[in-house]
Amino acid sequence: MSAAPKDRAADAAPAVGWSRDGIAERVAQDIPSGSYVNLGIGIPELVARFVPGGRTLVYHTENGLLGMGPSPAAGQGDPELINAGKRRVSMMPGAAFFDQATSFAMIRGGHLDLSVLGAMQVAANGDLANWSTGADDAIPAVGGAMDLVAGVKRVFVMTTHVTKEGTPKLVERCTYPLTGRGVVTRIYSDLAVVDVTPRGFELLELAPGVSYEFVKERTGAPLLRDRMRQQGP
């Protein structure tokens, strides 16, 4: 789709687990051909680069385009053909433009198959916090995040497993202001793929070279592993 906004160099050598691109690639594997998908601003946009050959996804951008295509070269493109991150994009064959009421009818009405979003925190009950730290001096801004989590059929979260400070992002209960309650379906982190189930977090898959214990230590809530795949990817 479009370039990640910053420090791509960091991708070169992850300490352990999947790189940012690696997570994106892992997410992309799980999206069936023909899906209508909304990729959140930032890291989730990487997913579009790794969709396996032969699959066609239709990308929705909530500012009013279905059938969004890759960003043009820097300085090229149309300043009024942009995505929700306000960067220039292109159109694919079969694209359609529409207004915001229609765009969010698609979202809220359950017409999109999947949204991939970033996260500050995800709780074991599927609660998501990804729009505000709640800090006093923060400028609150929510955009379409609350609509997406309320309406899209499946919500995947794509995130580092812990913050830069090493604090778990997968937690028992979110301390940041919520984006939505019980909305996250699955989490793709640099360390693992984790399902959100009625029993809480369930490990589905480990990143190469990462152990269950390693992930468990970095997860702020119980991490079940009954359903983990027997073979890694």
Partner: protein, 236 residues
């Protein structure tokens, strides 16, 4: 590659189940998807709840579906168009239920159903028999009625041209309820007089984006109720 084309109207309606709620586009004959309705008659599903602005005329299309005894209930704003005898007869005989909804409320309920809006307050029908028994509430001193979103299992509509992704454009006043109905059901089936590859429609002029459409059937020369009736046709 995305290709929502179905080979025939028959194939497209094959899985409509008994008891299904089916939205059917059209205002009078304009936009009535006659070939899809006839395919539904052939298919045989019964006990249907039909959501449509009218109830058809003569012995073809929607009137023929009613006459075949397949419809348990009609949700409708105007079931007695000139030339409509099938529904009035069934209704007077107690053989079909009617939920009468003001036309604008019908449109808005369908839109709400497709847009994830559970319910809304409208001034329409407040203080009238069609508002009776419904929750009301005053906004700015004016009484409003609470109306709920409406959804269906299947939607049958008629387009002028569709592409393989399911993008649809309509013909004049045949547009009417189709764009909302396309959004409000689990499976939306479009018959279109022309079907083109994705990329041939003007992205600015698409009325129904493909995300709302599940199946596209090419019906090159769709019949019109008035022409069939003038010819004395009946279906099947």
């Amino acid at each position: 590659m995305i290709d929502k084309r179905f080979a025939s109207a028959r194939d497209a309606v094959a899985d409509v189940h008994d008891g299904a709620t089916v939205m059917i586009g059209g205002f009078g004959e304009a936009g009535s998807p006659i070939e899809l309705i006839h395919a539904l008659i052939d298919q045989g599903a019964k006990d249907l709840v039909v959501v449509s602005n009218n109830t058809g005329t003569g012995l073809v299309g929607l009137a023929a579906l009613l006459r075949a005894g397949r419809v348990r209930k009609v949700v409708c704003s105007f079931p007695k168009t000139a030339g409509s005898t099938v529904f009035p007869d069934l209704y007077r005989a107690g053989k079909v239920e009617l939920e009468l909804v003001p036309q604008g409320t019908l449109a808005e309920r369908i839109r709400a159903g497709g847009a994830g809006i559970a319910a809304f307050y409208t001034p329409t029908a407040a203080g009238t028999p069609l508002g009776e028994g419904k929750e009301t509430r005053a906004f700015n001193g004016r009484e409003h009625v609470l109306e709920h979103g409406l959804r269906a299992d299947f939607t049958l509509i008629k387009g002028r041209v569709a592409d393989t992704h399911g993008n649809v454009m309509y013909h004049r006043t045949a547009r009417n309820f189709a764009p909302m109905m396309a959004t409000a059901s689990s499976c939306t089936i479009v018959q279109a007089a022309e079907v083109v590859p994705a990329g041939e429609l003007d992205a600015e002029a698409v009325v129904t984006p493909g995300i709302f459409v599940d199946r596209v059937v090419h019906v090159a020369e769709p019949a019109l109720e008035s022409a069939l009736n003038e010819a004395g046709a009946s279906y099947p």
